[in-house]
Symmetry: C2
């Protein structure tokens, strides 16, 4: 079997922050990188042409195994020749395992050793997701990077609960790896939709759990490393714990993660979280904040969050963010975007989503430049100061 | 006072069909032209950058006086310096008078000689729209073309009802013209937002009514001509009458309209309607079909309408329209767009709206080319045949 073509090379280090290159069959991704979330085969409210534009230049997006598995279902995606072809996206993708989504269903799911049984949020049907099913689905989706099927503990989990969670996650990690290897061996060269996956082995990342308990986090890391993956993710953060707990975990764990593998912080966070996590050694991020909050009328700006619903913007002829050079800020005023939002116009979501993604992606670009030029500490200080000085 | 810079020059004639150039201070608009409808300051579901792209190249859009007057209100738009500046659109615009919208409110409005009293669909407040108010609002909006305030009769109106309607519309037309002149004279040169409107007099179009009664239509035309406008519109069609009645009216009236002024068919229609009306001498169109139907899952194609909800498209790897070269058809399959629609994803509306506008605008481009090369009869025949041969 081929090596995973998803390989990682650290390029520059500035303190714990590092700039690197993640090489996939669909191009080189400079890190630290933010991955827009494409839940159901679409990054909500934005066309791929915009994501590919020089302005946003998103090199990798995330697809949700849970959502795509339930709808349209794997047969539909297989018929198109995999997820890239189904949705028409030719750049890199990462799929999550579905573990977090089914865990989030709360009372609607039952977790056993075998896997998670749950009711579909779409039609109420009874479904079963396990490491083996997740690997089967993710192999069929054919993203460049797949994730091990894990179990998440709540942010405030006791040591006992967190222990149970990391043990289950470790057993599922081993089963995920075995099933992933088996899936790839099972690919048929005569199936055109599977050729690419055969030629370029899909990478598989392991996930570190342990809630806010550093000893469990370290153990989870060590034993996940023993199983061996192409990259490692920190899961189970931003799930209800206090902000300082999250940063403590990242600060303790990220530097212990292998230098030669990408470090991915799952589901985090605000622009400030991203910069702070980079300062602690993280390379990859995904988060729904820029898209979801955009649809809810919130803009992220260099001077903090802006709620476009606020009446103070009704006659405001300035852009969302004076410091932003995105196509929305170059063209439209807060007054206009507020009018669109108040009128229930789809364009409000479209414009806010675009600006927010531009701001997140541009921030990461500036982070990369700062690390490469050894100016990251200065960038981090100035970025944070500006965020906190408030909106004009 | 300056001449309206919105001037019209016929360029080529092929049968009754004609190609011309409508010159405004914001560029030359080749006719026949289709105007996307921008109800509340946005063409729903599409960014201005797309409308301006070479692919769509919409040269003029329509704004709705009724909607903008109610929300965000004229003071908000004045504060931005007019509608163009408020929404960030630098190309030409036409605003309707609000007459049709308030007429459409049915039981919620009361029409008197003075004007129309109605309840706002937004907050239920009692409002009053008249020729004078409409002219005041339209002058403040500052589009290149304003429309006279008219009254519409139902498609099946009796001769008596239609007579009452044209008489009222004629009195309102005179009041509209007088009020428009007065408004323009009242513009203050020291008000920056009004400078452009002063320098380039806003054009005002009159509207011909008369339901399906040709004698009343002809009289309405003659007496509207006597008042004198910069262009003339056929109103009161596509409001419940039979299709052949609409085409009979157009066929009778359009060729009697002045050669040297633009002829605008309001609120019509399907791609086939557009081609058939061009064949009868019409220059300008607006219609919500490409945007509204797009949001409802309907695509207009060269082989007829396609309902993306249909299960037959679940695994269909072909584009919406095999003959279409728009960015949606070049990239996405019916199966994917159906998945987006079924999942309630905004991108379904965005992609269908884009394709539909591309199809309408491209059809009009081909119409113009056909007229200029004396091939319009051939184009019309082939276009219609293809439309009726059905979807593959």
């Amino acid at each position: 079997m081929n090596q995973a073509t998803c390989s990682f090379d650290p390029i520059a280090v500035d303190g714990e922050a590092r700039a690197g290159a993640l090489t996939t069959r669909r191009g080189v991704i400079e890190t630290p990188v933010f991955m827009p979330v494409g839940t159901a085969g679409t990054v909500k409210g934005i066309r791929f042409e915009e994501l590919e534009s020089e302005e946003l230049d998103a090199r990798i997006i995330l697809g949700n195994t849970y959502h795509l598995w339930l709808r349209p279902g794997i047969e539909t995606i297989k018929a198109a020749g995999g997820l890239h072809k189904f949705i028409g996206w030719n750049r890199a993708m990462l799929t999550d395992s579905g573990g977090f989504q089914v865990w989030s269903l709360g009372a609607l799911r039952k977790i056993t050793e075998a896997g998670t049984e749950f009711r579909s949020h779409i039609d109420g049907s009874l479904r079963f997701l396990s490491p083996e099913v997740s690997m089967e689905v993710q192999t069929a989706l054919g993203a460049e990077i797949a994730m091990a099927f894990d179990e998440c503990a709540p942010g405030e989990a006791t040591p006992e609960d967190a222990r149970r969670s990391i043990e289950l996650t470790l057993r599922w990690a081993k089963r995920s790896k075995d099933a992933h290897v088996a899936q790839l061996l099972n690919l048929r060269p005569d199936d055109e939709s599977q050729t690419d996956s055969l030629r370029y082995r899909q990478a598989l990342f392991g996930i570190i759990q342990g809630a806010g308990h550093l000893d469990l986090r370290r153990e989870s890391l060590e034993r996940t490393l023993e199983i061996g993956f192409d990259g490692y993710a920190i899961g189970g953060l931003s799930v209800g714990e206090e902000k300082h707990v999250m940063m403590d975990v990242i600060e303790d764990i990220a530097p212990r993660m292998p230098v030669e593998a990408p470090r991915y912080l799952m589901g985090v966070g605000t622009p400030e979280d991203l910069v702070e996590a980079v300062a602690r050694g993280v390379d990859m991020f995904d988060c729904v904040l820029p898209t979801r909050n955009g649809r809810n009328g919130q803009a992220f700006t260099s001077r903090g969050k802006l709620n476009i619903k606020n009446a103070r913007y009704a006659l405001d002829q300035s852009p969302l963010d004076e410091s932003c050079n995105c196509s929305v800020c170059r063209r439209h005023t807060r007054a206009f975007i507020r009018h669109l939002y108040q009128s229930g116009e789809m364009l409000a979501s479209i414009l806010l989503t675009h600006h927010n993604l531009a701001f997140f992606l541009d921030t990461m670009k500036r982070v990369r430049q700062a690390i490469r030029s050894g100016q990251f500490a200065k960038f981090r200080r100035e970025f944070t100061e500006q965020l906190h000085c408030g909106l004009e």
